[in-house]
């Protein structure tokens, strides 16, 4: 709840990262963090925000291998929820179940109750295609479409699905790229290939592409793991801003990242949710000893 409760070593590490990477003004980044720690509404951190997604008893896996063994948790609207845990604990599977990307893998299965916008997303009345337009996704490796220009990449979600009307294209490109904090860097070269950008810019382009579809929720599957520290800091700043308009769920390997940019953090271990609570609390006073062991580096 209070930044002073963070361990000094963690802060030092963070500063070291920025110093060694030549990040110009580390203050920028601290600004973003301060912004995030300020609740959007109300006076205290404790004010509950409405629940956007409510997961109950989610089991999922591949063939006979069960990866998620009954997960129940709520994701609050306009918050950044971080999911941490060691490799193979089911973090990615979990978010991929939320927008039903999981089932694209042959032999994958999922069952349980994932309430979103008044429906269980696994009920037969829900079309996964329409669901994914409401719950967008950003992937581990930046994956702009290689045949498309920057502009076409931003519009890809609309052109692919045949929903683009010509008159609004330019507005959407500009507003999406601005929201993804990329506009100033690319406004003069919108017709160059998306692949010509740097890795961090490509990832922000992918975020712009996701935003252009106007989702309610943005899922991010380790969005910074392929990026250098400077590009990572930019994305984290961006996540802080996105919180105002979207509900963000971010899977991360990096506990400092979860600490820096999330409101609540969930700790997964071997397919189960161990603990979910306010980020400040989970890193300072975890309830479960397994969480404590993980965040203090005893395993993982």
């Amino acid at each position: 709840m209070n930044m002073n409760l963070n361990t000094p070593t963690e802060t030092e590490q963070r500063m070291d990262v920025y110093a060694s990477s030549g990040y110009p003004e580390s203050d920028d980044h601290l600004d973003a963090r301060d912004r995030m720690r300020t609740p959007l509404t109300g006076d205290t951190d404790e004010e509950p925000r409405p629940t956007e997604i409510s997961v109950r008893g989610l089991r999922a896996g591949y063939g006979t291998k069960e990866v998620l063994k009954g997960v129940s948790m709520d994701i609050h609207a306009n918050e950044v929820t971080a999911i941490i845990g060691p490799s193979g604990c089911g973090k990615s599977t979990f978010i991929r179940c939320i927008n039903r990307m999981h089932e694209l893998v042959p032999s994958a299965y999922a069952k349980g109750d994932v309430q979103f916008a008044g429906n269980n997303v696994y009920s037969s009345s829900v079309d996964p295609v329409l669901l994914r337009r409401k719950i967008g996704m950003v992937f581990q490796k930046p994956n702009p479409f290689p045949t498309m220009s920057i502009r076409q990449n931003v519009l890809a979600g609309l052109t692919l699905t045949g929903r683009l009307s010509g008159s609004e294209a330019n507005t959407i490109v500009e507003s999406s790229l601005k929201e993804a904090a990329l506009w100033d860097e690319v406004k003069d070269k919108l017709d160059e290939p998306g692949m010509s950008l740097s890795g961090g810019q490509q990832q922000r382009l992918c975020i712009a592409r996701t935003i252009a579809v106007k989702p309610d929720v943005i899922l991010m599957d380790e969005p910074c793991s392929a990026l250098d520290p400077v590009a990572t800091a930019r994305i984290e700043d961006l996540i802080a801003k996105l919180r105002a308009d979207y509900t963000v769920v971010i899977v991360t390997h990096n506990m400092q990242q979860a600490a820096r940019c999330s409101d609540r953090t969930a700790f997964f271990l071997m397919g189960e949710l161990v603990e979910i609570t306010n980020t400040d609390r989970i890193f300072t006073a975890p309830k479960d000893t397994r969480t404590e062991d993980y965040i203090t580096g005893k395993f993982g």
């Binding site: 694209l104 042959p106 699905t161 579809v213």
Partner: protein, 299 residues
């Protein structure tokens, strides 16, 4: 000592590989050289624009050339859409239709996977069936049952059947090389399976699909057995002008001339072979150019 021995082996292996390259290329050069030496003198405007004749010097290749080109166009326009469709089904749709772990969903998944495996094995088997068998199949189905008669259309359909397995296999390979993360990006944006296949998978796989398909079809141009079986004529004094027209093709005309006793017809056959080879090489060249062009565009 040790080093010396491995160098010796290295040299031996390198030379053995070199020989393996030289033998087929040398044979090909020998074959082409021999044919060109025999036939090049006969190759002129009269030969390319004349109809068959009892007199070798008046005979020409025109009906065969036109027939072969029309056959290729027909074969390609039948085999490529069907082959690519089958490959898309097998790669993008089969076994991916259901989610959930109810008994019905599980059964559907098992059935889908079983079905795809059966198709997969049989496509590979079909690619190995001798072409004359396809001729017999075409004779029964297209010529007799469907009632196309001994027409160009029946010939094109038979050759399309013949190359279909190869087109399917080549297209599947090409589709498999499309990176998974591109599909995921499109699905994540709310695209349907069709939209992903049409806008993401097919454009990326197009160079590979085209290369495979054109190589398969240029192979079909030289096929003699199946179109003899379905009844292509050897003495055609007209250029086929519609799909139900009777026809002949280059390999049949060549076969006919080769089997004549007179020396002059053997020269005609050599000239005919040159025409056939030029046609096949042009097709292969088109395949390479198309692939390079598409690949450049993708990069």
């Amino acid at each position: 000592m040790q080093e010396k021995r491995s160098t010796w082996r290295e040299t031996l292996f390198r030379n053995a590989c070199l020989v393996a390259v030289v033998i087929p290329l040398g044979l090909l050069a020998l074959l082409i050289g021999d044919v060109v030496a025999d036939g090049i003198g006969r190759l002129n405007g009269q030969f390319l624009s004349s109809y068959p004749s009892r007199f070798a010097s008046r005979a020409g290749i025109l009906p065969g050339l036109v027939g072969s080109i029309m056959l290729v166009v027909l074969t390609a326009s039948l085999a490529i859409p069907i082959g690519v469709g089958a490959a898309l089904y097998l790669e993008e749709y089969a076994g991916q239709e259901t989610v959930g772990d109810s008994l019905a969903a599980r059964a559907a998944r098992v059935w889908d996977r079983y079905f795809a495996t059966v198709i997969e094995i049989n496509v590979a088997n079909l690619a190995g069936v001798p072409s004359v068998i396809y001729g017999l199949l075409g004779l029964q189905i297209f010529v007799r049952v469907v009632g196309m008669g001994r027409s160009l259309l029946a010939g094109g359909a038979t050759l399309a059947l013949l190359v279909l397995p190869v087109v399917i296999i080549a297209s599947r390979e090409a589709i498999r090389t499309v990176p998974r993360h591109l599909r995921e990006a499109a699905y994540g944006l709310g695209a349907t399976r069709w939209q992903v296949s049409r806008r993401i998978v097919l454009p990326s796989a197009a160079p590979g699909i085209l290369t495979g398909a054109i190589l398969a079809i240029s192979r079909a141009i030289g096929e003699t057995a199946p179109i003899i079986v379905i009844g292509a004529l050897t003495y055609v004094t007209f250029v086929p002008n519609n799909l139900s027209s009777e026809f002949t093709a280059l390999p049949i005309q060549i076969f006919n001339w080769v089997s004549r006793p007179q020396e002059e017809f053997a020269v005609n056959a050599a000239a005919g072979i040159i025409v056939l080879l030029v046609t096949v090489f042009s097709l292969n060249l088109i395949a390479v150019l198309l692939r390079n062009r598409l690949e450049r565009r993708l990069r």
